[in-house]
């Protein structure tokens, strides 16, 4: 009996090849983009794509919380800001090496996530949104009052971090690939995470918390670990952001920035991870394009977002699979 059962049980629910097609395509395009930019002499594309990837790191991590854990964190930009300030403050004291700055950025964000997560996860639903927002604002106002480090005006970083003394990230194209590596590592880590035992418990807590308790899981403990992990990845995003702009500012952790991250994740398609990358790209590219067209670009961008949320409930990824479902009857794509 066990062998027959095992054979049936091991049957995968989705064709593996199709599942990995889109993520592979996304990373392939990102890997080749600097070459295309060089050939067409459009250097600004590299800068723009770097910005997309920096925020995509934070958005993918946020998707783990929102899309898989059902935890709508409205203070995620706080972690980005903490990571960025770790780079900025260390640099102001003459410590400009990534071997120190990167662990410091991630550790600071994880510590903050752990301390605030213990409190935030005592609440649910709207209250969770409000309390994460409150902690995000708290860290924002702390940053604005840091007079030695620029306060409101922010802090200019003398130079990008070196890596063990080597000015690897000085060149924009090299920095691009460092950022791509960061995004790829984040994506692969999160992809493994959501399919692991841990990820399964996290997803179960989103689906039915009462059931999870009655089969023996203390869900809050798993949610706290997820919150700390997502916080740490926010710190990684902040590390990359500070190095890319060579500047840190309290604006990085504003509640608007947290809101934009949530929009990016929803725009791409919740609970997909690579959707968060697409959503970030779509958001930043449309913002870039519209702000070139008109000064009042937000008047166009706002309604555009409303349309996406109304008509593509699965975000951009949902949009791509919708016509198939409509015209060919759809295969269990509820």
């Amino acid at each position: 009996m066990p062998t027959a059962l095992a054979a049936r049980a091991a049957k995968p629910s989705l064709p593996v090849a199709r599942q990995f097609l889109l993520p592979t395509a996304i990373f392939l395009v990102l890997a080749l983009l600097p070459v295309a930019a060089a050939l067409s002499a459009q250097q600004y594309l590299v800068d723009l794509a770097t910005r997309v990837m920096v925020f995509a790191v934070a958005a993918v991590a946020l998707d783990v919380l929102v899309g898989y854990g059902g935890l709508i964190s409205f203070g995620h930009a706080g972690f980005i800001g903490l990571g960025a300030y770790a780079v900025g403050i260390l640099s102001a004291h003459g410590i400009g090496d990534a071997l120190v700055a990167l662990p410091a950025a991630i550790a600071a964000s994880m510590l903050f996530a752990w301390l605030t997560g213990i409190v935030c996860l005592r609440t649910k639903g709207v209250y969770f949104i409000m309390i994460t927002l409150a902690f995000g604002q708290m860290i924002f106002f702390v940053a604005t009052s840091l007079a030695p480090y620029g306060g409101d005006n922010g802090l200019t970083i003398a130079a990008r971090n070196t890596v063990a003394g080597w000015a690897l990230m000085k060149d924009d194209r090299a920095f691009y690939y460092v950022t791509l590596l960061g995004l790829l590592a984040t994506y692969l880590f999160c992809r493994t995470l959501v399919g692991s035992r841990f990820g399964r418990v996290l997803r179960g807590g989103k689906d039915n918390a009462t059931r999870m308790a009655t089969i023996g899981f203390t869900i809050r403990r798993f949610q706290l670990v997820a919150y700390v992990i997502a916080g740490g990845l926010g710190g990684l995003s902040g590390f990359l952001l500070a190095n890319s702009t060579e500047f840190v500012s309290p604006a990085y952790m504003s509640w608007q920035q947290s809101g934009e991250l949530i929009v990016m994740v929803i725009l791409g398609g919740l609970g997909t991870l690579h959707g968060a990358i697409l959503g970030t790209a779509a958001y930043l590219l449309v913002e870039e394009w519209l702000s070139g067209v008109t000064e009042n670009w937000q008047a166009i961008f706002g309604p555009l977002l409303v349309l996406v949320v109304l008509f593509a409930r699965g975000g951009l990824l949902g949009l791509s699979s919708m016509p198939r479902g409509r015209f060919f009857g759809g295969v269990g794509n509820g």
């Binding site: 066990p2 059962l5 095992a6 049936r8 049980a9 091991a10 049957k11 995968p12 629910s13 493994t192 995470l193 399919g195 692991s196 035992r197 841990f198 990820g199 399964r200 418990v201 997803r203 179960g204 689906d207 039915n208 009462t210 059931r211 999870m212 308790a213 009655t214 089969i215 023996g216 899981f217 203390t218 798993f222 670990v225 269990g332 509820g334």
Partner: protein, 250 residues
């Protein structure tokens, strides 16, 4: 045999001015199938909730295997050997049936703080899960999303989840509610086969099923235990007939 696995002592619960559990003292023996019957609003589900830990009593104690578990949360009671089904099936709708059960296996097979390795491909989780589905009679639906199962299949899935936990005490809250005659018969057969392997508390309105299954029956009226006894004694009790069975049995 006669050693009680579960002991409720002076359990009381009010919702505002409404008394839902009124000084309930009850012993459930190891290995027995103990049915809990009574009219709607008698406080049966609230009592089950207090046993499983979802509702805290205002007074009284819950003793499980001679340990006071009154203050323990539901997840700890689950790990000590209590599992339950709900009046309205409580499953993970977005998960495949197999994954629903595999999670219950996972809860008691090592740490779940594992961040690597694909849980869906772990034979150590899937084989026992598949066996539980087989036992509940829905093995052929293993890869279907739980949300897409019929009401009867959801009930069977919930039972498979509970069985996969290998409980010492199984709490069944109206397992026959809202399912067809045929599925009810199948469920009664399954419970008859499980009888003796674990202690069970069955809350049910289907009197045919209750009298076919129960070793002992407690009758709950307005939060109080009216009487506890064998099916024959309960059926013959004029108090019970007047208060409840009169309207149930023609």
């Amino acid at each position: 045999m006669a050693e009680p696995l579960l002991r409720l002592q002076g359990l009381s619960k009010n919702f505002g001015s409404l008394v839902v559990t009124d000084d309930v003292t009850l012993e459930v023996n190891a290995g027995e199938m103990h049915a809990l019957i009574g009219p709607n609003g008698a406080g049966k589900t609230t009592l089950i909730n207090q046993i499983s830990g979802l509702t805290a009593p205002d007074a009284g104690t819950v003793l499980f295997a001679n340990d006071d578990v009154t203050a323990l949360p539901p997840q700890i009671r689950a790990l000590r050997g209590m599992s339950r089904t709900f009046q309205i099936s409580s499953i993970l709708p977005g998960f495949a049936a197999l994954e629903n059960v595999a999670l219950a296996v996972q809860a008691r097979s090592g740490s779940s703080l594992r961040f690597f390795g694909n849980a869906a491909a772990e034979p150590a989780l899937n084989i026992p899960a598949m066996a539980a589905l087989e036992q509940a009679g829905i093995a052929d639906r293993a890869n279907v999303r739980a949300a897409e199962l019929s009401d009867g299949e959801k009930r069977a899935l919930e039972l498979a989840i509970a069985l996969a936990m290998q409980p010492r005490l199984l709490l069944l809250d109206e397992p026959m509610a809202g399912i067809g005659r045929e599925e009810t018969d199948r469920l009664v057969d399954l419970l008859l086969r499980l009888k003796g392997q674990m202690t069970m508390i069955l809350v049910e309105h289907d009197m045919a099923a209750v009298f076919a299954l129960a070793d002992r029956i407690s009758v709950l009226i307005r939060g109080r235990v009216l009487t506890t006894g064998s099916p024959a004694d309960v059926r013959a009790d004029p108090q019970v007939v007047a208060a409840y069975l009169g309207e149930q049995v023609e």
